[in-house]
Symmetry: C2
Subunit: 226 residues, 2 copies
């Protein structure tokens, strides 16, 4: 069975790809560039990871509209990137309004055309940045939209294998599946070495620390987040 | 209250704009170019209609991904455009897979940033081309996704004022509201005169005939569809 994997190039989408691959799906990989600060680096990670898993069917999408619309520190470079808020008490400035619905819509359009029946996305609810569109209820509701909004003969469902995992479990799962973490990119801020202090770096570093592993990518600094 | 109107430039989105305007909403107009055959003409219609209603806040989006993905005669120029199938027995080749979900996602992202609480879309279920994403159940399900996928303090709902109307009622409603039909564009095929024979022209011509009105735009031919 064919599955589309939404592959940003970060650790969550990497491990999601590793899981879908281990489950025996024929993978098609989709990447969205939406004018985010680190898009060169993320696109490079996407290509390297897709190469690693020998994924032939690929789609690289430009969704500049998210940058046009703004409202997020990822696309509006005049807004500061939130530092680590590991309590998850507020929605960080990196939240891109309703971004995942846009990405899922694109993935469903593609899945319908190429005949894929699953869409894998590396959303994490339990141990995440608190984005509203990373919650299981959101994906359940979106599955209802897919069932109603596609041709009757299609059968497409979203898979969120990480949704209930802690980030440290995601690291362990990835290690177990020998996912190439060294090819992935999570930093929101830098395209050189990862900054180590943005919300995304902080969550990643803490996850590796808690898993008792060392993150193989280079950081400007590695604060203690445990 | 501010409302985003999805304004393709066709007769349905024109009348939807007229209705939202008559209801007193402060309008913000969004147009999506997705590499469809008649995009120049539709963009022109969008701008003229937005000028007519003195809409200052506008967003013109490029969503080339739908053309990249293909699967529709609107974006894949090697596929033939379906002729009129006014029985609505099959989904025509002009169906763009899951397109409206993509457009709605974009509109919600924008609405969340500019503080709009309504999104108007000119979807028609009763008397339409039979696209799955033009049905009321689809929009009801999408409203659930919006409620779950946006920030808790936002309150955005999709409005589909035409959903249960016959096309001829839409013409009458537009005439009642003095909507500028002469500025609108519905043909899927041509950018000169409207072809008069594609599915979209046929539905439009039949609607005007049934309403007992004459469509003010120019056609290559005006077959009898009544």
């Amino acid at each position: 069975m064919k599955a589309v994997v939404l592959l940003s190039g970060g650790m969550d989408s990497l491990v999601t790809t590793a899981i879908a691959n281990a489950q025996g799906f024929e993978l098609a990989a989709m990447h969205v560039n939406y004018g985010q600060r680190t898009w060169h680096k993320e696109l490079e990670a996407f290509r390297l990871i897709a190469d690693h898993y020998a994924i032939g069917e690929r789609l690289e999408i430009n969704a500049d509209y998210l940058a046009q619309i703004g409202g997020s520190s990822l696309t509006d470079y005049s807004m500061p990137i939130s530092g680590a808020d590991l309590q998850g008490l507020s929605i960080p400035t990196s939240y891109v309004p309703f971004r995942n619905a846009g990405f899922l819509s694109m993935a469903v359009s593609w899945a319908e055309v190429i005949g894929a029946e699953r869409i894998f996305i590396g959303a994490v609810e339990e141990d995440s940045s608190g984005y509203p569109d990373c919650r299981k209820v959101f994906y359940d509701a979106f599955n209802a939209v897919i069932a109603l909004g596609t041709k009757p003969e299609t059968s497409i469902a979203i898979m969120t294998p990480l949704i209930e995992m802690q980030k440290s479990e995601i690291v362990r799962k990835g290690m177990e599946l020998t996912a190439p973490f060294e090819l992935s990119w999570s930093c929101y801020k830098s395209e050189g070495k990862a900054c180590g202090v943005c919300d995304s770096c902080a969550l990643r570093l803490r996850a590796f620390e808690r898993a008792g592993m060392r993150d193989p990518i280079d950081y400007e600094q590695r604060p203690d987040y445990i």
